[in-house]
């Protein structure tokens, strides 16, 4: 028997972000031996002909499938965890994974409120029996260390008061640090770190505006080559831009695994802000699939938030 429809449906169930669990149940669960053989022969993307006379599943596909099946689980767990535990675990994981993942640490340290970040530090004590600062200071060996430790240690003032003179002088300081980038990396510049790690967010937003006035480009543009320093400024001064960028990257067809994971993280942790800004789930419809898609869409459903339990 030919099962072209089923074959197509099976392929579809495995494409996109997440897996279409319902389709898989209806197609695979009650497939007999013959059906499955024909799937294997017909699905050259997933199976290759082995010299010993059987259709072997591609190793990288096995790995990818594992990740795709896990997406729903990860989204649920992340959603259920207390925000403090969630952020503490995200930081610890990112730290262990290494330099390419430091942007996650920046994201958490810079987009949470002072008390949320504090809570994460407390949870970190309970979960890992060390302070987050010690672990960062030990595991991060490169030039990012000072900045990361300073960012997670911050307990920023949250009021609106801003001193215009200080704003102006600090915009100048940042501008100079960037101009001297060839002599000394801005990410290692003490004054730059100090400004970004201790000043309040309203203050930093004002610095961002002022920088734009005195220089041709915006602060984030001028920091394009400076790795997580750019992420720091983006998260502190223009978080909406940062999150939009992350979501776009993760929801694109050729996004890598980290970008896709970021989608779960951002949607779960920024849920309220996203709903308030009316983040359009259009992109999500086409790219996500299965329970994962339903969960994400459900998280963003506006009406749900106000319904009494």
């Amino acid at each position: 028997m030919a099962y072209p429809d089923h074959l197509e449906a099976l392929n579809k169930a495995f494409s996109g972000i997440g897996v279409d669990e319902n389709s898989l149940i209806s197609i695979v669960a009650n497939s007999n031996h013959e059906h499955k053989k024909s799937f294997r022969k017909g699905c050259s993307k997933l199976f290759i002909e082995d010299q010993n006379g059987f259709e072997r599943m591609d190793q990288s596909i096995i790995k990818n499938l594992k990740l795709e099946f896990k997406r729903f689980r990860d989204a649920v767990v992340l959603s259920l965890l207390h925000p403090w535990e969630r952020d503490a675990r995200l930081i610890e994981k990112a730290m262990k994974k290494g330099q390419k993942h430091y942007d996650v640490i920046v994201e958490i340290a810079c987009t949470r409120s002072s008390n949320e970040l504090l809570g994460a530090r407390k949870a970190y004590h309970s979960l890992f029996h060390h302070s987050v600062e010690e672990h960062l200071a030990t595991h991060v060996k490169g030039c990012e260390r000072k900045l990361l430790v300073a960012l997670v240690s911050a307990y920023r003032y949250e009021g609106p008061k801003v001193n215009e003179d200080v704003v102006k002088s600090e915009a100048e300081i940042l501008s100079n640090a960037i101009k001297n980038a060839d002599k000394r990396k801005p990410i290692e510049d003490e004054d730059t770190i100090m400004i970004l790690a201790t000043r309040s967010k309203p203050h930093l937003k004002a610095v961002y505006e002022h920088y734009n006035k005195i220089c041709d480009k915006s602060l984030t543009e001028d920091l394009e080559a400076e790795g997580i320093l750019k992420d720091t400024v983006e998260c502190l001064c223009t978080p909406e831009t940062y999150f939009t960028r992350i979501l776009d990257a993760g929801l694109s067809v050729d996004g890598d695994e980290e970008s896709k994971r970021a989608v779960t993280r951002v949607i779960v942790t920024q849920r309220e802000a996203l709903v308030k800004e009316g983040y359009a789930p259009n992109k999500i419809q086409g790219i996500l699939t299965g329970h994962y898609k339903d969960f994400i869409l459900g998280s963003l459903a506006r009406e749900e938030m106000n319904k009494p339990l």
């Binding site: 504090l118 004590h125 600062e133 010690e134 200071a137 911050a154 008061k161 003490e190 201790t198 309040s200």
Partner: protein
Amino acid sequence: MATLTVPSTVPSLSQDCEQLRKAFEGWGTNEGLIIEILGHRNAEQRKLIRQTYAEAYGEDLLKRLDKELSNDFERVVLLWTLDPPERDAFLANEATKRWTSSNQVLMEIACTRSANQLLHARQAYHARYKKSLEEDVAHHTTGDFRKLLLPLVSAYRYEGDEVNMTLAKSEAKLLQEKISHKAYNDDDLIKVLATRSKAQINATLNHYKNEYGNDMNKDLKADLKDEFLALLRATVKCLTCPERYFEKVLRLAINKRGTDEGALTRVVTTRAEVDLRIIADEYQRRNSVPLDRAIDKDTHGDYEKMLLALAGHVEA
């Protein structure tokens, strides 16, 4: 162990407030009454007194005290009456101002308070000064001092007893290397002091002594005139044996020609409810004179009486 003594039956809040009010009435102030009441109430009680006083008389008790009292007596009463987190925020803020700046006080607050006490101080700082403590420390200290102080005031140390002996060994080795190369402001050295738990630091220093012969602080005495080194040594002391640190502060304050009232007031008010008993024992051990006798000889008047009350002195 605290030295503060609170009577076994404490008058009601309204009684305390009434008495305080009476102490302010008329010409002059009844300082003795103020000492008798405020000098024998703990932090929780003082907080409630302030609240009740404000409700009953429509003014902040601290403002009234500020109007009525003066000089050293005023400072000791005001500092004492403040809630510990507010007091720490006040002292820290003072320490960042130009004329009263003190790296030592900043380090002392950052290192001798528990992780949560330091946190509460930082919160009180927001409320009172509309800025973060880190900003002010960052912008009013420079160079190596800033490098050390900023992480110290930002720390939220783990408070458990667990110690990793392998880590203690490797960090003792690191410290010894840096110190022998006179790299006192080294990032890794500062990292150990600013992020590790107190238990871990203790273990590291014990290992240092076992392995290299000297107490680390002894090896940090390479240049007695270097202020940064002095701060580093004081940091180590505060983290590992605060009673000895405070004993020294008191000793220097009392022995100084004329007395350093600022330091004396600060130590007594900040430790009376914490460990002034242990510090006083250390003081007696080291100087062969009981602390209250030394205070008695060196200070006088109402200022002296308040200090003695807080130090648990009982009139013979």
